[in-house]
């Protein structure tokens, strides 16, 4: 009797898990389709077949002469594609970072901007605007200093919040919020004194991808990939920490190490993402919750699912942002909130029984 009941449970668990593996694979396929579709849409009138011939001609091992004029090739391969990839990377980064923070802080309101990293990056960006210079690998001073600002604020935060050898999460949040407010004050002060470029800086801070290029993709990609690995690896201990840090410790989890590595990884990808895209709201807080509502709270799956769904979501949002008003762009943050919030509320109504 008992063994059959157990095996039944085990079977159910397995099939549940298998379902989620299938979900991840399905979502990755969907991501590919979304990238292809987003490449096919834009203000320039380029036929679907031309777009696909261009994309295929760039695949390794495929050697077809597409015979398509250079301008179209520039539009599809050097304007649309890097922009889409960058939006995907930023969406993946923000969404995964948000899920990680929510797990670490055991707080559903946590988002990548909660602990002052984005404010640090914004301050760096504004300084980059004011003291303009050209950095390495064709990067401007803005993303470079934004990245430094984000990382620096994380390091300072870690120093401030550490109590002995432990890192109490409440202290991290409180110190982070206070530091964020301080950095935002400095940013505002610099902004009102920045004169003619005020408008440009403000729009940059709102976030967007209007001039994304391959260099930015190449710089962002390693940071995102390097940070995702430890985050994924610690999904299981993060599950245990959800119950109680002490219990997790007793179960053999090195809680402090897990917290530190995950916090640093999440901070690193947030800083990198903000440096290239500004502060795009909503992705980091709502996508992890939507994933949790659909696939459950197991962090081993929640984290990678958040990555893929975040990427898909931000690519879709940016595609709408660059096409919905014709030639003029809408700030992508407006789109993420405008379409994302009602969808999330719908999910929330559908799954009312789930309590956070």
């Amino acid at each position: 009797m008992e063994t059959t009941a157990l095996s039944h449970i085990a079977y159910n668990l397995l099939s549940y898990r298998r379902k989620r593996y299938y979900s991840i694979i399905g979502l990755l396929v969907l991501l590919g389709v979304v990238i292809g579709a987003a490449c096919s849409i834009g203000s320039a009138d380029i036929s679907l077949s031309d777009v696909w011939r261009l994309l295929l001609s760039r695949l390794p091992g495929v050697d077809i002469d597409n015979g398509i004029p250079g301008t179209l090739s520039t539009i599809v391969l050097d304007i649309r594609l890097p922009r889409i990839i960058l939006a995907g990377l930023v969406g993946a980064a923000l969404s995964t970072a948000g899920a990680t923070y929510q797990g670490l802080f055991r707080n559903p309101l946590a988002d990548p901007y909660l602990i002052g990293v984005a404010q640090g990056a914004a301050l760096g960006a504004v300084i980059g605007f004011i003291f303009h210079f050209s950095g390495p690998v064709g990067l401007g001073s803005v993303p470079l200093l934004a990245f430094c600002g984000g990382l620096l604020s994380a390091v300072v935060l870690y120093g401030l919040a550490r109590v002995g050898k432990t890192l109490p999460m409440t202290t991290v949040i409180l110190a982070g919020v206070a530091m964020g407010a301080f950095l935002a004050a400095v940013t505002s002060f610099l902004l009102i004194n920045s004169g003619e470029n005020l408008h440009g800086i403000l729009i940059w801070l709102m976030g967007g991808f209007s001039t994304s290029n391959w260099n930015e993709v190449y710089v962002l990609l390693p940071y995102v990939l390097l940070s995702l690995v430890p985050i994924y690896l610690y999904g299981r201990p993060l599950n245990l920490i959800q119950m109680d840090e002490e219990q997790a410790q007793q179960l053999g989890v090195n809680v402090e190490k897990v917290k530190l590595i995950m916090l640093l990884s999440a901070t690193l990808i947030t800083a990198a993402a903000v440096s290239f895209a500004g502060s795009i709201g909503f992705v980091g807080i709502i996508i992890p919750h939507a994933v949790r509502l659909i696939w459950g709270p197991d962090y081993r799956f929640l984290l990678p699912l958040s990555t893929v769904v975040g990427a898909i979501f931000l690519i879709l949002a940016d595609t709408i942002a660059r096409t919905v008003m014709g030639a003029a762009e809408v700030p992508v943050g407006v789109i993420t909130a405008f379409f994302g919030a009602p969808f999330f509320l719908y999910l929330l109504r559908q799954k009312k029984r789930v309590v956070f």
């Binding site: 539009i75 004011i130 401007g140 470029n197 940059w204 209007s210 014709g326 030639a327 762009e329």
Partner: protein
């Protein structure tokens, strides 16, 4: 009879305050008073020709100096950098929000405000007893109107009409040069304000009008305001001339550098033909007398062949 007298007395009594009021009304308008309708449609009465003028916008400052009012201007903003004499004037601080206390402390008898101050700050200044006119030129014609209004308000009508005539004559010269252009000879112009994000000018901007007057067509004249645009759309519309609005400070040059170095813009006709230029942004976005310089410089950039003829 008595009753008639009473009625007559009553009528006289009734009429008295009215006549008194009329009399005081007349006396409060001495021969030197000036009545002006400003560009916000407000009617302002000045008792005498202003001797202490405060300007709340760089374009206003340029107009006032062009009218020869150097001696009457007592205050300008931090942004008023032309003519050079403006830099020697005391500053009331930022253009927006204006520091009302600093303005009042200068004891001006005329404040020349801009449209942005109209709703909140103009009533506040008036309640403090200041005389305020609003100049709000949005087009080249309205710049000339603004000059006329400023001339009336400051007793410099002659200088104002002279300046307006000169400006109109120079605009007419440019028009006679570009009027003969056929449709194919009017180049598609992309005006860049900022590169990250990529910002340009729409149809309701002064820059758009300057481009048109100089015989060009703004490729984004289907948009309004200062929109952010996609690189893709720029390649699609393939500008023949790219003009970067450049300031005097370092970071504005960053936009010009970006435009010159951006590989993806090399597919435009402008890049192939070497038609990427910068222009002093103050000449084409400040609604002041130098807008004519802006039109002439724009003509030299987008129609060098015509500009040669005029000289």
């Amino acid at each position: 009879m008595k009753r008639l007298l009473a009625i007559a007395l009553c009528l006289i009594c009734l009429a008295l305050p009215v006549t008194v009021a009329c009399a005081t009304g007349d006396s409060s308008a001495p021969t030197g008073s000036i009545e002006i309708t400003d560009q916000a449609g407000r009617v302002v009465t000045l008792d005498a020709i202003p001797q202490r003028i405060v300007s709340l916008a760089p374009s206003n400052t340029e107009i006032l100096f062009a009218l020869g009012l150097n001696d009457s201007i007592v205050g300008v903003t931090d942004w008023c950098d032309y003519p050079p004499e403006a830099l020697e004037k005391d500053s009331i601080g930022d253009f927006y929000p204006p520091n009302i206390e600093a303005i009042v402390a200068m004891e001006p008898d005329l404040v020349v405000a801009a449209n942005i101050h109209k709703d909140e700050y103009v009533p506040q200044m008036e309640s403090l007893g200041l005389k305020v006119i609003v100049l709000d030129p949005k087009t080249v014609d309205e710049v000339i109107d603004a000059i006329a209004i400023a001339g009336e308000a400051t007793g410099t009508e002659d200088a104002a009409s002279q300046l307006a005539e000169d400006m109109q004559a120079r605009i007419d010269d440019v028009q006679s040069l570009v009027s003969g252009l056929s449709e194919e000879e009017i180049p598609r112009v992309f005006y860049v304000i900022w590169h990250d994000p990529l910002m340009t000018v729409g149809n309701d901007t002064l820059q758009d009008e300057v481009i048109q007057l100089a015989g060009g067509q703004n490729i984004f004249d289907d948009l309004s305001g200062y929109p952010v645009v996609d690189l893709e759309t720029i390649l699609d519309r393939d500008p023949q001339v790219i003009i970067v609005g450049s300031g005097h400070d370092v970071e504005q040059d960053a936009t010009f550098q970006w435009v010159q170095n951006e590989a993806r813009l090399r597919d435009t006709e402008a890049a192939r033909e070497g038609m990427i230029f910068k222009i002093d942004a103050d000449l084409v976005d400040r609604p002041g007398p130098r807008i004519v310089d802006g039109i002439e410089e724009m003509l030299e950039l987008i129609h060098p062949e015509l500009a040669g003829e005029s000289q």
